[in-house]
């Protein structure tokens, strides 16, 4: 897999696929989920992320909103990566993702497909797009901890 993910053609297809068929898309009307509305400063991306955590474990993540290819695909990948993880595992993955976006050393292995965004740092105007969903889940997890 890791080798395949070096191939730009594959990466492109991955992103397209997550954009056209976003996973875990559509919100649920369920108060056991906490939710976060992210409207990026550029006033264009406007998404909502929901998460359900039980006993330290992420049971489900959902998202919806108006967003570009990069935000949609990166958020979609995020949901796939984090569902079924413990808080601690999720936080490690999130940290790795932000390290990658920041062009620092990071643990490739745990990011899986999300390394499709490893070169976003070269396009500063897309960094907000590639992180909006990830920021939402990060804040949701952190807030959840504080509330307990």
């Amino acid at each position: 897999m890791s080798e395949m993910l070096k191939d730009p053609m594959i990466l492109r297809q991955l992103i397209m696929d997550h954009y056209e068929f976003p996973r875990n898309h559509g919100l649920v009307d369920d108060t056991t989920y906490s939710q976060k509305h992210m409207a990026s400063e550029s006033c264009i991306d406007d998404i909502v992320v929901q998460v359900k955590i039980i006993d330290d474990k992420i049971i489900d993540i959902r998202f919806d909103g108006v967003a570009c290819t990069i935000s949609t695909a990166s958020t979609s990948m995020m949901t796939e990566l984090l569902i079924d993880k413990t808080r601690l595992e999720a936080k490690k993955i999130i940290e790795a993702y932000f390290m990658m976006i920041d062009n620092q050393r990071y643990d490739e292995a745990i990011l899986n497909e999300a390394i499709a965004f490893s070169n976003v740092y070269k396009q500063p105007n897309r960094i907000k797009c590639a992180t909006i969903g990830w920021k939402a889940i990060k804040e949701l997890i952190e807030e959840g901890e504080v509330n307990e």
Partner: protein, 406 residues
């Protein structure tokens, strides 16, 4: 006719070799040397606070400031006492809503507006309506987002106290028939407040002829610095209005008991140190535009706009939302690619456009789309700019957009 080659030489930012194609003048315009020099002169030759004559520098700054007011007044054909300098259109429009609207509106009165309004034009009135229990009504737009006189006349009735409308929509670029709207409004004993932010930079505006009650615009969209704007109001209303801000310079005296004697209009509205170099820059911008001739500005933009529309029509991957527009604001999308992805792709080719909802967030009710690419033209744009824009647009695919980041 307007000599674009010569004009482009006046804009330092266009004379670097990075090939910038700036198609976002509706957000803010580039600045010519004449304006930059006016700002520099304030820093280098007569830095001083205004409205003081104690020494030469302060007298010089004060006189230039007062002359700038006359220059602005002259540009829009009103009296200098009717021109208030503000920090921008947003400040101007909020001031009218709270200091005039709140005062004259009563519960049940109607504020008639449109769905193409910019947030800065309509949001203050939402606040006013809430406070006073007034009602907001909308003029139905035609399917291109235009206010027609017919629709306006139908929407008008005797409960309408205030009409709030943009002169030129910042999303769809349509020029509203303000003179007629003002006449109809006044026939119903209403007041009309016009957001001129996207009109003033592009055409000669005669406020006396339009006969509006209030009119707002910003410096930064008309070649001048940011942080400065104008509120025009008919003298009779300004004289009755109280200022929003109180402070140094706007009062003649005050005492411990809280008695304040305000200065006259317009000074009473300008508490505190204003954007002095902003005002001087605005005056220089007006001189610059006047030298070119506003008729030439308009003609140039209409010509470019027509050229751009023709070229766009030839592309089959593009949707145009305002195909009948005459001004230099064109709203479009590339089929099946989100506007922001297209904007980023254009940026990769040094083309600056804006994507999004452009702060006119209720317009999606009308054009049935939340986000567009906005291409907006000004005096320094050329047919070559458009050719390159078209070339890149023609080529764009979702794959190419994604390839930029992988």
């Amino acid at each position: 006719m307007l000599d674009v080659t010569k004009i482009r030489k006046d804009f330092p930012i266009l004379n670097k070799d990075d090939g910038l194609i700036y198609l976002d003048s509706a957000a803010t315009s580039l600045k010519p040397k004449k304006v930059i020099d006016a700002v520099l002169a304030y820093y280098q030759d007569y830095t001083a606070n205004i409205h003081r004559g104690d020494y030469r520098l302060s007298l010089m700054a004060s006189e230039l400031y007062d002359k700038a007011r006359e220059n602005v007044a002259d540009f829009v054909n009103v009296s200098a006492t009717e021109i208030i300098f503000t920090s921008g259109s947003t400040a101007s429009l909020n001031q009218v809503a709270y200091q005039f609207g709140l005062d004259i509106l009563q519960a049940g009165d109607v504020i008639l507006t449109t769905e193409t309004e910019h947030a800065s034009s309509i949001l203050p009135w939402y606040q006013v309506a809430k406070k006073i229990n007034a009602k907001i009504e909308y003029v139905p737009l035609n399917n291109e987002g235009l206010i027609t006189i017919e629709n306006f006349t139908k929407a008008m009735h005797d409960q309408v106290k205030i009409v709030v409308t943009t002169h030129v929509s910042n999303v769809l670029g349509h020029v509203n028939p303000i003179k007629e709207l003002a006449r109809i409004t006044h026939d119903h004993d209403g007041y009309i407040v016009v957001d001129g932010a996207q009109a003033i930079p592009h055409m000669l505006i005669d406020l006396k002829d339009l006969d509006v009650d209030f009119y707002a615009f910003s410096g930064h969209k008309m070649l001048a610095p940011t942080g400065v704007g104008v509120l025009y109001g008919k003298r009779c209303w300004l004289d009755k209005m109280l200022p929003l801000f109180y402070g140094g310079g706007s009062n003649a005296r005050f005492d411990k008991q809280g008695n304040i004697t305000l200065k006259n209009t317009p000074e009473k509205f300008e508490a505190g140190t204003p954007s002095i170099e902003g005002v001087l820059g605005l005056s220089a911008a007006i001189d610059y535009l006047r030298d070119i001739g506003m008729d030439n500005v308009l003609m140039h933009e209409e010509e470019l706009s027509k050229y751009l529309l023709t070229k766009l029509h030839e592309l089959n991957n593009v949707i145009i939302y305002n195909p009948s527009v005459k001004s230099g604001i064109i709203a479009l999308n590339v089929k099946n690619i989100f506007s922001q992805d297209v904007a980023a792709y254009l940026d990769h080719h040094h083309i600056a456009v804006r994507s999004g909802n452009h702060c006119a967030k209720i317009l999606n009710n009308v054009i049935q789309v939340t986000d567009t690419i906005r291409c907006s033209l000004y005096i320094y744009n050329t047919k070559e700019d458009i050719d390159e824009f078209i070339r890149v647009l023609k080529d764009v695919t979702l794959e190419k957009c994604i390839d930029l980041i992988i």
